[in-house]
């Protein structure tokens, strides 16, 4: 139905966006690739020179890389597990008849809108502080010794903060999916004497499979590059305990001023993200019958 005229107009309207995104994609990426082959320190311009794949060898064999990779995987995996395992029952609960449901829902989704620097500081100082934090007080109430979160379990502390921020996202998406579930099917199952548990396993869970996949894929993209929470609370430490890939590259680039090495790390991060993105694009693409 599109006429010749609209086709030409359409292309003209699309061009600015495509051109801008193309530049935005290609220029920094090309520069990163170029820098990654150089010995290039912002502090020492004398030794500037081509080193081939030396930076990659250095970055990939640096023990800090393996620690950061492990921390990244633990962080992403734990937050995914927590948000889905808590988000599902929470969504089921909010799908019930609950007095004041809309208020509860507002409370549950609020953390998603708290900027990462604020949530990191509030958790670190007001809740997890080993002497005057709210958690320390609760611990003393039940006769336990308060945990010094950022010294004794720093990565766990970061995981808890990030999970708190993402739980609302998982809950909201699962709740939306639940509300589109076929009520009549559930009623029929109930009339046939199906227990609540088997209704959940055979009807609800399959219905949730797709939103759960969407949650996993979208959260993964964001969680791979968690930065502000670490920057504000631990600065990657103590030692390397909370350094993830994103933070490692940041500290090489803007703390140690090693552009070559940071660029090699940046490309490693791009490769990791693209492996994840490959699956996301396939799944989203399937839903997109343009």
């Amino acid at each position: 139905m599109a006429t010749q005229q609209t086709q030409v107009l359409g292309r003209a309207l699309l061009t600015p966006a495509v051109a801008l995104l193309f530049i935005w994609m290609i220029v920094p990426l090309a520069m990163t690739i170029y820098f990654s082959t150089l010995r290039y320190s912002l502090l020492d311009s004398e030794t500037w020179g081509f080193v081939g794949l030396e930076n990659f060898r250095y970055f990939l064999t640096d023990p800090a890389f393996l620690t950061a990779l492990r921390n990244t995987l633990v962080l992403v995996g734990s937050v995914l597990a927590i948000t889905i395992l808590l988000g599902t029952p929470l969504a089921l609960l909010l799908d019930q008849q609950v007095v004041g449901r809309s208020i509860v829902r507002l409370m549950v989704i609020a953390p998603f809108f708290v900027m990462p620097t604020v949530s990191a500081l509030v958790w670190k100082n007001l809740l997890m502080h080993p002497v005057s934090g709210l958690f320390a007080w609760v611990a003393t109430l039940v006769g336990a010794t308060p945990i010094d979160w950022f010294n004794d379990a720093p990565l766990l502390a970061v995981i808890v903060i990030v999970a708190w921020q993402w739980l609302p996202f998982a809950t909201l998406i699962l709740l939306t999916a639940l509300q589109s579930q076929d009520e009549e099917q559930k009623e029929a199952a109930e009339m046939d004497g199906a227990s609540a548990l088997s209704t959940f396993i055979y009807l609800t869970l399959p219905h949730l499979a797709r939103p759960i996949t969407v949650v996993i894929l979208i959260e993964t993209i964001f969680l791979l590059t968690v930065f502000a929470e670490i920057f504000v609370t631990t600065g990657g430490g103590p030692g390397l305990a909370t350094t993830n890939i994103a933070f490692l590259i940041y500290s090489q680039a803007l703390v140690q001023y090693d552009v070559g090495n940071a660029s090699a790390g940046g490309l490693v991060a791009v490769v990791i993200a693209n492996i994840v993105a490959f699956f996301l694009v396939r799944i989203v693409g399937r839903n997109l019958e343009a």
Binding site: L21, M25, R105, M107, V108, L121
Partner: protein, 276 residues
């Protein structure tokens, strides 16, 4: 027939839902309460829940000490500016793909989304150097540019999913009646597109407002928005919990309220309509 639900079950669900809702909301509630305490009471053990000396002096001090309003203005200008520019570029693009699709439209859309997958940290170095060489470090213009480009794929996708849902029949009817593209745009399309445009605008304002990676790395003082301003409280020089809480409350209140209004669109926007 609605399912019969016993009164007891409703009360059990209600109690459980309120308990979990309260626990999840507690950190925010605690922050707001702390912002009305004196520094001494903010620290006191056992903590004071409601019976403390309520004061609003922290809110005044936050402004005096470090010019909160300057950073809030930066947040508004950067988030607002990047959102507006993104909309201006995205509306024609999304319109074109939704109403004049070609064989390549799907590929273009997926490619646009894939630029969002590029982790910011992967290109931090070149962007930092470009900004340094062009004098864009710590400028609002620089941050507007970066946040605009970063959010552009999402803006285009959201608008595309909204535009796709506008029924084609109405457009065809208008064309049969001899409406030109201009008239069609003004009298038929625009009124139907306004809700989608509004929620895209709001959601992207929220994303830009909370964006922390680029603002932390590319701004220090002049152009620093609230994300960077709040991070400055992480330095160990004197723990000002009550003031930190007051500044934080001011920084997140507008965006939480906006977020509550856009929760429906949030699901659609962030999952590109894959979950309804």
């Amino acid at each position: 027939m609605a399912r019969r639900v016993t009164a007891r079950r409703i009360w059990v669900s209600t109690a459980a839902a309120w308990l979990f809702g309260f626990l999840i909301f507690l950190p925010i509630l605690w922050m707001v309460l702390t912002s009305f305490k004196t520094e001494l009471e903010a620290f006191s053990m056992p903590p004071k829940f409601l019976l403390f000396h309520w004061t609003t002096e922290n809110y005044a001090t936050v402004q005096e000490r470090s010019d909160y309003l300057h950073h809030a203005l930066n947040s508004i200008l950067i988030a607002g500016g990047s959102t507006l520019i993104a909309m201006i570029i995205a509306i024609p693009a999304a319109w074109s793909m939704a109403f004049a699709p070609t064989k390549r439209t799907k590929d273009v859309l997926l490619w646009m989304l894939s630029t969002k997958m590029m982790p910011s940290v992967g290109v931090l170095v070149p962007i930092y150097l470009i900004f340094r060489d062009f004098g864009l470090l710590d400028t609002r213009a620089g941050l507007v540019m970066i946040l605009c480009l970063g959010n552009l794929p999402i803006v285009i996708w959201m608008l595309f999913t909204y535009f796709k849902e506008i029924p084609k029949d109405i457009l065809e009817a208008a064309r049969m009646d001899g409406a030109t593209i201009g008239r069609e745009l003004v009298y038929v399309l625009t009124p139907m597109a306004v809700p989608g445009l509004a929620s895209t605008l709001l959601l992207n304002f929220i994303l830009a407002w909370n964006e922390a990676f680029w603002t932390l790395n590319l701004s220090t003082l002049e152009a620093a928005p609230l994300t960077t301003f709040i991070a400055s409280y992480s330095s160990p020089e004197g723990l000002f919990w009550a003031k930190l809480s007051a500044a934080s409350t001011l920084a997140i209140a507008p965006i939480i309220i906006l977020g509550w209004f856009t929760q429906r669109q949030l699901v659609r926007g962030l999952t590109f309509g894959a979950v309804k």
